[in-house]
Symmetry: C2
Subunit: 207 residues, 2 copies
């Protein structure tokens, strides 16, 4: 019963690099940064450990590359989605962009969600979301001011909106027989839009 690595093709550097990124993404997604060992990634890629060091300098290096790529991916999609159209269209297209990212790259999504290395307070994804919400908050603040609402409440609504999308996205990936992204986006868009349109000038607690 001796453990033998199946022999695998020799690959040119670029291809090996690409493969390691793929494999690494999968493993980091499944176990998180801390719990992942370089050995395991090497094993999955059917090569030996030093190769990983050759290409990425170590665990953090590989991780950084993976995260960077994923951030590019998702930010790119969302930026593209909100480039044109009415405010509500932009919202709904952003939701669709987010959902399709999440569906198409579940491992990347998981990596972004998880704890980053070195005791970071949150994963990359929550951090991105938070920043995004802050930006949305700035826009809302202006709009609220113009419309005579309490501008100090704008960040609340901005974070609520982003949180809504983030959470629905998570549900959407995990539920069996998920509805099409467009349907989800339409519902989320409706909820947000109707909610925001019908806000009282000064909300007060019930009872």
């Amino acid at each position: 019963m001796l453990k033998r690595r199946e022999k695998s093709e020799r690959l040119p550097a670029a291809a090996r690099r690409a493969q390691l990124i793929e494999v690494g993404r999968a493993v980091f997604a499944k176990k998180g940064f801390e719990a992942t060992s370089v050995e395991e990634i090497a094993e999955q890629a059917k090569i030996s450990k030093p190769i990983v060091y050759e290409h990425f300098g170590g665990k953090e290096g590989l991780y950084a590359v993976i995260v960077d790529r994923e951030v590019e991916h998702i930010v790119g999609r969302i930026v593209e989605a909100v480039a044109t159209g009415s405010a509500r269209e932009r919202l709904e297209r952003a939701v669709i962009a987010y959902l399709s990212y999440v569906k198409e790259r579940p491992d990347g999504f998981a990596v972004l969600l998880r704890d980053a290395p070195s005791a970071a307070p949150r994963g990359e994804m929550p951090a991105l979301m938070y920043d995004l919400a802050d930006k949305v908050g700035d826009i809302f603040t202006q709009q609220f001011r113009d419309a005579g609402y309490d501008a100090k409440a704008a960040p609340i609504y901005a974070h609520a909106l982003v949180g809504m999308v983030a959470f629905v996205g998570q549900w959407w990936t995990e539920t069996r027989r998920p509805p099409p992204a467009e349907v989800v986006a339409a519902h989320v868009g409706a909820l947000a839009w109707m909610g925001l349109r019908h806000l009282p000038k000064k909300p007060t607690l019930q009872k």
Copy 2:
């Protein structure tokens, strides 16, 4: 320059246990489960490592106790909040309960938020939230059916709602000069309520 532990009081077992839970919560909150060492907890508590093992059997043991307590805390508060009142009152009181938990026990909150040990797909908090959203989804499904809306969309709204609260809560703990919990709850309540009340029977994508 020799490193010497300041001598500390001897404590009866119960008190030491309590102290270790406090200290452990703080350290786990700051570094996450994997990155925390038993040594560090012992050091912070001004005792030596084996004491931790005596009381909790190890890192996982201590962690489990801490998480369990926090879950009790937050679930208890929310259950109490939704015990009575109109639907909207319950919602707003649940938000207040959540926010005050988050504010009063930031370390506990952080522990629940972070990755659990052993490659769990998410932290305890997201898991709790997800379960909660599923429950809300069941309620919504019934309501939607009665009101002639598409019942299949109910989970979307339920998760949206919970996500909204979760995310706003996170923002609220981290923002400087946060508004009072009641104000936040009123805004979130208004957004959700107005949004849900004015939903079209069949939302469709804009454009």
